[in-house]
Symmetry: C2
Subunit: 410 residues, 2 copies
């Protein structure tokens, strides 16, 4: 079953909002066997929406639309869909009750809220449990078009609780199995060469994709067929061969983010972690705490942006700072020990660098970052170089810190 997603909104085309909806939808739909073959983003213009809807309805079986359902003037999706399906808006008591419930404790009902209770007549209207804009489910020539709100949390709730279950009960699909292996220490082309023979012997029913990202490469195997269990076994068998070829460089096989991989290692071995961060400014801690249940192993961090904080809370010596500078192997090692002592943890990571755009010198140009990771008395350090811009310098340092922690724990 082929799906096209249409995301609507000037803000997407002008780049003020990143469309994260379609990636989330693609992932969830794929998990249950629907294949998204195209995403189209268009502006809030009637003719452009109509053209996109019409082309999509010819191309695929299911069209999922997000956005343009808000209470304001620039939201025209439901009027446009009425035109496309030759229907009109009618007042829905059910939707109006829901809007009152949603707004109950927040604001007084106004005419714009009431206008949100107007819904297309010839469609199934689905109440939105977490917002005021309702979901419209149209059917035409045995094809389905669903229009839903674009606010990510509302879209997710409506997709998970209503739209995906209804799609699953309406269609029967073939089996699809994904398995993603995370590989470290390989540049993409070297990995491709290393895996040539393996890749060439992959059965027809399996497709391979390389997904490189800041220091690691994810290899995604996708198997398709009629029998899910059979496809799963084939995928796992081919995946297992990767360990023979790449050994310990295969970090993970569940598409887990790095913070989850190190989190599991710490949890299994009953170890605790802290971080001491200068240029990463809390990003490592934020990544680590994005994992539910991390409080079992994560105690906390000192973000030591200034030298006074490095001295005061992490016990970095004035002398070391003066002799080697804040961005040095010596200082990150002292930060590391400071974190383990102050926060009383078994392991720690520490980072100090020049994120840019300013603050570089001839000897230590922007992009220079020192990273250290410790498990008890075992300390590993690493120097990151080359300037990729402030944001990416910090992201790379965060990933490298997590990779170094993984290494010291291994």
């Amino acid at each position: 079953m082929f799906v096209e997603i249409i995301t609507i909104g000037d803000e997407l085309l002008i780049g003020q909002v990143v469309d994260t909806n379609s990636a989330w939808m693609g992932k969830e739909l794929n998990n249950v066997g629907f294949e998204v073959i195209r995403v189209t983003s268009v502006r809030d213009r009637e003719n452009e929406i109509l053209e996109a809807v019409d082309a999509a309805m010819k191309r695929v079986d299911i069209v999922l639309m997000t956005g343009g359902l808000g209470p304001t003037k620039d939201d025209i999706t439901k009027y446009t869909l009425c035109k496309y399906f030759g229907t009109e808006l009618v007042f829905s008591d059910m939707v109006f009750e829901n809007i009152k419930r949603i707004l109950a404790n927040r604001i007084t009902m106004n005419p714009l809220n009431k206008a949100q209770a107007m819904v297309p007549r010839d469609c199934t209207v689905i109440n939105n449990r977490v917002g005021t804009a309702s979901v419209s489910w149209f059917e035409k020539n045995s094809k389905v078009l669903v229009s839903m709100p674009g606010v990510p949390q509302e879209m997710k709730t409506n997709m998970s609780e209503e739209i995906i279950p209804r799609l699953c009960s309406r269609y029967k699909m073939g089996a699809i199995v994904h398995k993603t292996y995370t590989v470290k220490n390989y540049p993409e082309s070297v990995l491709a060469i290393t895996l040539t023979d393996w890749e060439n012997q992959l059965p027809e029913c399996i497709k391979l994709a390389y997904l490189p990202k800041s220091g690691i490469i994810r290899l995604r195997l996708t198997g398709r067929g009629n029998n899910e269990e059979e496809i799963k076994q084939i995928v796992l068998k081919e995946g297992a061969k990767l360990y023979d070829i790449l050994g310990d460089n295969v970090l993970d096989e569940n598409d887990s983010p790095l913070e989850e991989i190190v989190g599991s290692m710490l949890k299994e071995r009953n170890l605790t972690l802290s971080t001491a961060e200068s240029c990463t400014g809390g990003n490592i801690a934020a990544r680590i705490t994005s994992v539910p249940g991390c409080s079992v192993y994560f105690k906390g961090s000192v973000v030591a942006y200034s030298n006074e904080v490095k001295k005061g809370l992490l016990n970095v010596s004035e002398d070391t700072l003066n002799r080697f500078g804040a961005v040095s192997e010596e200082v990150v090692k002292e930060m590391l020990n400071g974190a383990m002592n102050s926060l009383k943890t078994d392991c720690a990571v520490a980072v100090s660098g020049i994120a840019g755009p300013d603050g570089g010198t001839a000897e230590k140009p922007v992009g220079t970052v020192w990273i250290a990771a410790a498990y008890g008395k075992t300390i590993l350090t690493q120097k990151q170089e080359v300037d990729f811009g402030r944001e990416l310098n910090v992201e790379r340092a965060t990933n490298n810190a997590l990779l170094l922690l993984q290494k010291v724990l291994f």
Copy 2:
């Protein structure tokens, strides 16, 4: 001049990678007067790429493509473009020299790297300063199609340094002026009602959009015309009226993120800041340090995920923790004072809450977050309620903390 962006890659449709490229491109193109009217994401399939390219070349003046130029088997963009333009791949010494330079200190050249030096014959080839895949610039029937790498950093560098300057010198455009006003304290529909009269009197050449996001709403005014200075004056004149209607609720008029708004306030008044974070786990510090030059006012943070760290580094009393619990107004106030004392700052924000999915109780359900902000002895506190899921709970708490800091500084 109308532009369509085509992003290529199975990983986008299956949702393993969020397409951040097109938003960035849309923003940069808009700034120089090109209008992106559609974004299309397709899979790595020849017929789907061909169909999308052909439709786009009919629809718009300029087609910009990203992705599918890597060294591996699933990358088919350049072969497909040769087919579309009726040309073939030839070896480019210039590109080969660039590839050698890029790979110099990292890996040995292999056949896949060499294959990247094969480029379409009938196009202008532009070297990629920061990667191995080159840029191809085609022209046909006075329309332009540019194919570039999909790795965000490479795309950005090539767009900024080569593609946008070349587009600007090839086309002449009308003027376009954007101005975005950030408004706090208004739900979207209430704001829309409040602004009805103002909105109705806006001149034809101005378009308005509402962009709500976690507690704030951005109002974007877009003016178009022939004379840039004239359009700018009209936009500014209409924007100025917002202050008369909304007063202090207009936070900013430069589309600055909250962290930049509070950063400017601190900098102007020569004040210093620290954060004490429990459930936000470093996210507030990460947001604050995303602003270049923040070291002038930001000293650091204590991420106190565990109670021991709250006591040890922030001096929260055992007694307060026992009597009120870690998620309480009393504890965030002590965290706040602890941060200002330990990190010696004029201002601080502190957060403690239950991000979920576990850890809630009947009295303090998941989603309960206490937030406090201080400037010297003035302390403001706020209780955030309702569970939107771990990620969004943390994001909302981060935004609310920055808003509370803005308020205490105002």
